[in-house]
């Protein structure tokens, strides 16, 4: 035992406490050197793969401190050296520098430093690796047995002190990497910057010739692990920057998800047997190029050659290996990657996996949101298109198909070409293509496909009336036609309207990666939309044909519109439902709801325009208004008014700040009064048209920053039911009221000269109300406020009201 007054344990621990970096190892060894009255101290560590039976194995300098740094420190000893003997015997030893057991020729460290005495003690490092602590002394004072005892004690505590220091350094590395991740900008362009910061931070501790991070972006390049960040001393050409599973040692780590650490690759030939044993199936490929490069870098080929070390840790979580962190060659002492470094590199990999996984999720999510947004914008413009086309009675269907396919190419990643095929009797006929490298008229590749088996995959879809089919492997599709030989994956979406299948939208891609999860849904919606518009186009074609045949344009329009308006309105109503379903579904992000509301509002407006035209046609042809009578239930009335309020509000110019409000009190009062009997009878569709028309007018003529109030209830001693829309805008003079109801009278022309409006809205409302035995009343109130009111007689059911309800009605 050492003398207690020397107290070196406390001094060593204090020295440790002052150390923050790996240079602290040198400082600890300096303290050991000073305690031992020596000139220098080295720690030798046995490299993995040693075989004591055949006396094969190598020792490397794990750390050292010497007084004269100009003297080169050699790095490697064999197991049969003096140090090796101490390691094998497990006993400390004090020898003189001229001991023949010291390896010949003697290292410069001994000869140039004038070392006279050497003292050695075996050690076991914190991770179980065998090691030897070696101290040199120049003074002509031999080591005593006490010195030997002290050294033995130091050899016992040093691994703990080392372990403490390396743990601190390692944990700080992991912490710092997490810190970099957490503070990383979430923008997708900055992830490379973040990875580069991480590489730089790792290299602060690892001082490697090269540190690289390879990652797989499973969505864009599955199976390819690409170098995302690197810090290297290599100049000029860089080595391999993409790996696959099993490719070289890096690929081994990716495939097996385990860390590989080699202390010295320069002895690869000798070590192959244990490397193969430890890492079964590993192959090095061009990873060994590091050896030659590192030799050139160190410019030495003597016994002072540092080891050429290599460590590679997986970036993985429980389920996936996302990539690797690879470090090669160390430029400062210790010149190899220690076991603790491999351990912390692995820990860093775990954290990085978590970050990368989140990044990929976010990326996928952003892409999905972006594709929904794009789809919504596309649908909006298509609806605008329809709205305008309706006014012109013209239609370019091919252009519209192409527009829809362009949208598909934008929202479904990797789409290379697409095709619209329509059913024509017993065939599917290609009517529009986008992105194909063959012309539309090339009958060998496009054209006519029989619907009878064995047809194409598209004809199969039509004949079986299947829904959307997504084939990430085109070979899984039934009856694949080889019009596109390099097609790898395929989506087929039915173009349908209601029960009728008009054709198929084919979306093809050459990319091997799978379609994103929402691609099928998107293609399905597009197919549906195409079906709706195809229907609409057919009706407009009929209309144009009728126009051509008849001279009397107005009469023709009126008649034909009357015939087609039911068909025309249906696709837009379906669009309305799509928008409504999307708005209510969870698949669409909340941020898109407003846009969907607006889209729904637009569809609703298109429907109103079409319905007005239809009514106009019927009335112009003296065709009586057909009323499909049903009961107007109070709660249903309230529900549709709520929907209309939202539709109209969504189309209001935000700058005008006109607010649509629904005063529900009149309806709620009735709900509370146990109204069991019929209130009003009439046609729901016509009622909706009336309410919408007067709301449209209110929106058009209201002043900015005003409110449009919609209300309803029972009036006139319980004999009438009313729905009222009150707005504040252009003043209506009492003498103008009768004119407002006239066909073609545009009140706005005299007042505001708005570009819109055909002056048929109120005329139609008046006609509908009269057909119901009710009336349209327009009452100027004061200050430009106007009450436009639909009044229906309560034809039945008053007798069924309870007394309370009767009283309430009487009050109204």
């Amino acid at each position: 035992m050492g003398s207690p007054e020397r107290g070196f344990v406390i001094r060593l621990v204090r020295t440790l406490a002052e150390q923050e970096t790996l240079a602290g190892i040198g400082q600890l060894l300096r303290a050991v050197t000073e305690e031992m009255g020596a000139w220098g101290t080295l720690i030798w560590v046995l490299a993995p793969g040693a075989d004591f039976g055949s006396n094969r194995g190598r020792l490397f300098v794990q750390g050292y401190w010497i007084k004269d740094e100009r003297i080169p420190v050699w790095h490697e000893l064999t197991l049969d050296s003096m140090v090796g003997n101490v390691l094998k015997s497990g006993r400390p030893e004090a020898i003189t520098a001229d001991d023949p057991r010291i390896q010949q020729p003697k290292p410069e460290l001994i000869t140039q430093s004038g070392t006279r005495f050497i003292c050695l003690a075996p050690m076991v490092m914190a991770d179980g690796t065998k090691a030897v602590l070696e101290v040199y002394r120049q003074e002509d004072v031999a080591f005593t047995p006490d010195d030997l005892g002290d050294l033995e004690q130091m050899a016992a505590i040093l691994p703990t002190l080392f372990g403490n220091l390396t743990d601190r350094v390692g944990f700080r590395l992991v912490d710092d990497v997490m810190d970099i991740q957490q503070h990383a900008d979430s923008g997708k362009d900055t992830y490379l910057k973040t990875l580069q910061e991480i590489v730089t931070r790792i290299n602060e501790d690892f001082a490697a010739l090269e540190v690289s991070i390879f990652l797989e972006n499973a969505q864009d390049q599955p199976g390819l692990y690409v170098r995302m960040a690197t810090q290297t001393v290599w100049k000029g050409e860089n080595e391999k920057s993409v790996y696959r599973k099993g490719e070289g040692a890096t690929g081994f780590v990716i495939e097996n998800g385990r860390t590989v650490r080699i202390v010295d690759l320069a002895h690869y030939e000798d070590d192959q047997h244990w490397i193969q044993r430890e890492y079964k199936g590993i192959n090095w490929g061009d990873s060994l190029a590091i050896v030659e490069r590192a030799r050139q870098y160190f410019r030495v080929d003597s016994d002072a050659r540092p080891p050429i070390s290599w460590v590679c840790a997986p970036i993985k979580n429980e389920t996936n290996v996302y990539g690797v962190i690879r470090c090669a060659g160390v430029t400062r002492n210790p010149f190899y990657f220690d076991a603790w470094q491999a351990r912390f590199l692995e820990a860093t990999g775990l954290r990085l996996a978590w970050w990368w996984q989140n990044y990929l999720r976010r990326l996928a999510n952003e892409r999905e949101v972006a594709s929904w947004e794009e789809l919504m914008r596309g649908f909006e413009s298509m609806n605008r298109f329809v709205q305008k086309q309706l006014n012109r009675f013209s239609w370019d269907e091919t252009g519209f198909f192409r527009e829809a396919m362009r949208l598909a190419h934008r929202v479904i990643p990797d789409t290379d070409n697409s095709e619209v095929r329509l059913v024509d009797e017993n065939e599917l006929v290609t009517v529009a293509t986008l992105g194909t490298d063959w012309p539309l008229h090339d009958k060998s590749r496009t054209g006519h496909y029989s619907l009878k088996p064995p047809g194409s995959a598209a004809s199969y879809l039509v004949s079986t009336k299947s829904g959307v089919q997504v084939y990430n492997d085109v070979n899984q599709a039934p009856h694949v036609e080889r019009v596109s030989p390099d097609c790898k994956k395929l989506i087929l979406a039915p173009i349908e309207e209601g029960e009728v299948m008009h054709g198929v939208l084919c979306i093809r891609s050459k990319s091997p990666r799978p379609f994103p999860a929402n691609a099928g849904l998107v293609a399905g919606l597009l197919g549906q939309q195409l079906g709706l518009y195809h229907d609409l186009a057919a009706q407009i074609r009929n209309l144009k044909e009728a126009e051509r045949r008849n001279r009397d344009l107005i009469a023709t329009q009126a008649k034909t519109i009357g015939d087609v308006h039911h068909q025309v309105k249906s696709p837009v109503i379906s669009s309305y439902r799509i928008a409504q379903n999307l708005a209510n579904s969870r698949i669409v992000p909340a941020a898109l709801r407003t846009q969907l509301e607006q889209l729904r509002g637009m569809c609703s407006k298109v429907t109103r325009v079409v319905r007005n035209m239809g009514m106009f046609a019927d009335l112009s042809n003296d065709k009586p208004i057909r009323i499909n009578r049903s009961v107007f239930m109070n709660h249903r009335m309230l529900q549709i008014l709520r929907e209309f309020r939202a539709d109209h509000q969504s189309l209001i110019d935000p700058d005008s700040q006109i607010a649509f409000r629904l005063d529900e009190s009149g309806f709620l009062e009735l709900t509370g009064k146990e109204m069991t009997g019929k209130l009003v009878e009439g046609d729901w569709a016509l009622l909706e048209q009336c309410v919408n028309n007067i709301m449209d007018n209110a929106a058009k003529y209201s002043y900015d920053h005003t409110a449009v109030i919609i209300s309803g209830g029972v009036q006139a001693r319980g004999t009438e039911f009313y729905i009222s829309v009150v707005n504040e805008g252009f003043e209506v003079k009492p003498e103008d009221v009768p004119k407002l109801k006239r066909r073609g009278y545009r009140g706005d022309k005299a007042i505001s000269a708005t570009g819109e409006g055909s002056g048929i809205g109120l005329w139609i409302v008046d006609e509908i109300m009269r057909a119901h035995g009710g009336s349209l009343t327009i009452t100027p109130i004061q200050n430009g406020r106007t009450d436009v009111r639909l009044v229906f007689p309560i034809v039945k059911g008053v007798g069924n009201l309870s007394d309370a309800a009767q009283n309430s009605i009487s009050r109204g």
Partner: protein, 146 residues
């Protein structure tokens, strides 16, 4: 060169859409006005720093409904001519005579070009995605109209 474009369109849905399409598609700066009255009121300002190009809807409302408004000038009673009147104002003022004018309307092209005020003005028919408008503008600046 960053184009400076004046857009006059009364439908706010169209206005926002076309504005963003021109900004995104051409990298232009776009000033948007919503009615004929706005255009007339802002004319001095427009003339002082004229845009490179004016994109005008043809059927325009005279003014947004407003409490302060006293009435509509008789010449503004034909909203289907409003965009053409704006175009004529630009053409007849020497400060803005060189501003390129595009009429962007839902009306069929010949409906517009037959009108007296529209002589010599380029007309583009409104489309869903404004591709034709953007193409036309790009064409205009590759082969400028003198």
């Amino acid at each position: 060169m960053q184009l400076k474009i004046l857009l006059v369109e009364d439908d706010h849905l169209q206005r926002n859409y076309v504005k963003h399409a021109l900004e995104d598609g051409l990298g232009a700066t776009v000033e948007a006005l919503c009615c004929e009255k706005n255009f007339i009121e802002a004319f001095e300002e427009i003339a002082a720093d004229p845009p490179d190009l004016a994109v005008l809807d043809v059927m325009l409302m005279w003014a947004r409904p407003s409490k302060e408004q006293t009435g509509t000038p008789s010449q503004a009673l034909s909203p289907e001519q409003a965009g053409l009147r704006c175009a004529a104002m630009l053409r007849h003022d020497e400060r803005t005579a060189k501003v390129n004018v595009l009429l962007y309307s839902v009306l069929p092209e010949q409906d517009i070009t037959n009108r007296e005020l529209a002589k010599g003005v380029v007309t583009i028919v409104k489309e869903a995605e404004c591709h034709n408008l953007i193409d036309a503008i790009q064409g205009l600046y590759q082969h400028p109209v003198s």
